[in-house]
Amino acid sequence: MIELRDVSKIYQIGDERVHALDHANLHVRPKEFVSIIGPSGSGKSTLMNIIGCLDVADAGEYLLDGMPIEAYSENDLAEIRNRKIGFVFQSFNLIPKLTAEENVELPLIYQRVKKSERQTRVRLALEKVGLEKRAKHLPTELSGGQQQRVAIARAMVTNPSLILADEPTGNLDSKTSGEIMRMFQELHEQGNTIVLITHDNDVARQAKRVVHILDGKLTEVTL
């Protein structure tokens, strides 16, 4: 599913070379629910960018569904993100001008799915997150928890191979966090592969498997 082999990413900050990722190795099997936990500055975001095909590693090999990512062009990567990966961000990242419905529809438009099919799939996705009644609302008219649920609906509407969540509860209170985490549990039970990145131990512990990241190095944690 996900196979990182000796992946390194180096940033040049002034005279200093920072190893955001230092020969990281990670293997995620299909239908697994993996948490990656680490303090800020540990290389979490870089790892997330690379797994999410938003950025390319400087060295090493990354196989997604058995395909090496380094070989692809920018446009190929866009298509891979579109079809294989569903993103859930800390700050929700919905497009403010579009309604909940339209935000969920957007990845399907980029896949050139027919309009009638788009409508059914968007409705189903919104039903799954319990927001079918809020379909016509703009993100600003929704609470933080509701916005994050729209984002989750957008992530899963394409039936991606991988749902990639970056601190999905970071901007939410503990009650709504609980709701969102239950939703990830459900998604996991339905057979989705989930990689969740967080700095919060309580959140991380909800996954079956926890990987620790520090100074760009990954270590398995047994709970």
Binding site: N49, D55, E74, N75, R81, N82, S91, N93, L106
Partner: protein
């Protein structure tokens, strides 16, 4: 279609800014459409006037007769000899004081032959025109336009009445239909006109002699004016020892041609100025699109993260720029139409109607589209080449 809807929504999200941006395009389109339409309408009505004055007419001026002056009889001979020449009318005029009873007015008196009637496309309402016998006998008869009759005598049914021109009495034998409200009549104002036999004018005026120095030629049916002109040129060249400076032939076609070249020159000039203002409008669009792209960096990041390709983003912003341009263009054309309507209403009495020129409307639509594409391309490319991670983390 979906992308056009999206573009309209993005534009609608900031209406004031969109309106101000479009203003440049609106003004540019207005300048182009209104100015070119005005010139075109004015030219076409002037051209119409000129051709209604008699487009099948050549004017001949003899400046050096080489001892062989053109006589009235010569004109008749040419008409008889040359099949291409249908009518030849001498041109001579003088001013005289006309009197009827106690009324008096200044007159333009034309000395004419019967051919004048044909050449000038005149129409009688009463009586007859000057006949050959009147010319032969120096008859003291005259033909007046209806307006002159009404102004001087008080009514148009005035056959047989006598008016005096410089003290000599002339009997009215015909009344001519007034010309339509034409440019010529506007220029002439309320001038009184009388047509008398050419030979009678020789006696009335001191500077008209038996020699004809200026005359009109009409082409015969089945012959073009050019053919008539050629025949006349050959004839006069023989008469005046092959000296082409001795005479000059001009046609109203030449006036039309000159008008046309002036108006096309004006159109190019005005169109050029308008095009410059459209380009300035386009720069305004580019400026706003660049601001929009920066403002929406985060949106671009999100779109790229969920799978928008470079091309998708490029097309999205390009369509937005083009839609902005085309909206400005449509508004500009609409406002131009309004302005031309208002001008037409104001100038309704002058018989010139100003209307939207279809060609220039089409041209401005094409031009606006091009400007949208050209000036939208750079900002759209800026948006398209953003890296998704940079764009996502922009501004938190």
């Amino acid at each position: 279609m979906l992308s056009v809807k999206m573009a309209l929504r993005s534009i609608g999200a900031n209406k004031l800014r969109a309106a101000l941006t479009m203003l440049g395009i609106i003004i540019g389109v207005m300048a182009l459409v209104v100015l070119v339409s005005l010139v075109d309408s004015a030219t076409s009505s002037i051209t119409e006037e000129v051709s209604s004055l008699g487009s099948s007419l050549l004017t001949v001026r003899v400046s050096d007769d080489k001892g062989r002056p053109v006589k009235l009889e010569d004109l008749q001979t040419w008409v008889d000899q040359e099949p291409a020449v249908a009518a030849v009318a001498p041109y001579a005029t003088t001013t005289a004081t006309g009197k009827y009873g106690t009324e008096s007015a200044s007159f333009n008196v034309y000395g004419v032959t019967p051919d004048e009637y044909k050449i000038q496309n005149m129409q009688l309402t009463l009586g007859r025109f000057i006949a050959s016998s009147d010319v032969r006998n120096n008859s003291r008869v005259c033909v007046v336009p209806e307006k002159t009759a009404v102004d001087l005598i008080g009514y148009s049914d005035c056959l047989g009445k006598e008016i005096s021109l410089n003290g000599v009495k002339y009997t009215i034998i015909g009344v001519l239909k007034d010309e339509d409200e034409s440019l010529a009549s506007i220029l002439m104002g309320s001038l009184k006109i009388a047509y008398i036999p050419y030979t009678s004018l020789i006696r009335l005026s001191t500077d008209t002699g038996a020699t004809v120095s200026t005359f009109y030629i009409g082409a015969a049916e089945g012959y073009t004016l050019d053919q008539a002109e050629k025949v006349m040129t050959d004839l006069l060249m023989t008469r005046f020892d092959d000296d082409d400076d001795a005479f000059a032939i001009s046609s109203q076609n030449m006036i039309e041609e000159a008008m046309e070249s002036i108006s096309s020159l004006l159109n190019i000039l005005l169109g050029g100025i308008a095009a410059i203002s459209l380009i300035v409008g386009g720069i305004g669009i580019m400026n706003i699109m660049l601001v929009t792209v920066t403002e929406r960096t985060r949106e671009i990041g999100i779109r790229k993260a969920i799978g928008a390709s470079r091309r998708t983003i490029l097309v999205q912003f390009l369509i937005e720029a083009v839609v902005l341009c085309m909206m400005g263009c449509a508004l500009g054309i609409f406002v131009s139409w309004g302005i031309l309507q208002i001008i037409s209403t104001i100038t309704a009495s002058a018989s010139i109607s100003f209307h939207l020129n279809g060609r220039v409307v089409l041209l401005s639509v094409l031009f606006c589209f091009l400007i949208g594409v050209i000036f939208g391309l750079y900002p759209a490319n800026q948006a398209a080449k953003m890296k998704p991670i940079d764009a996502l983390h922009y501004g938190g």
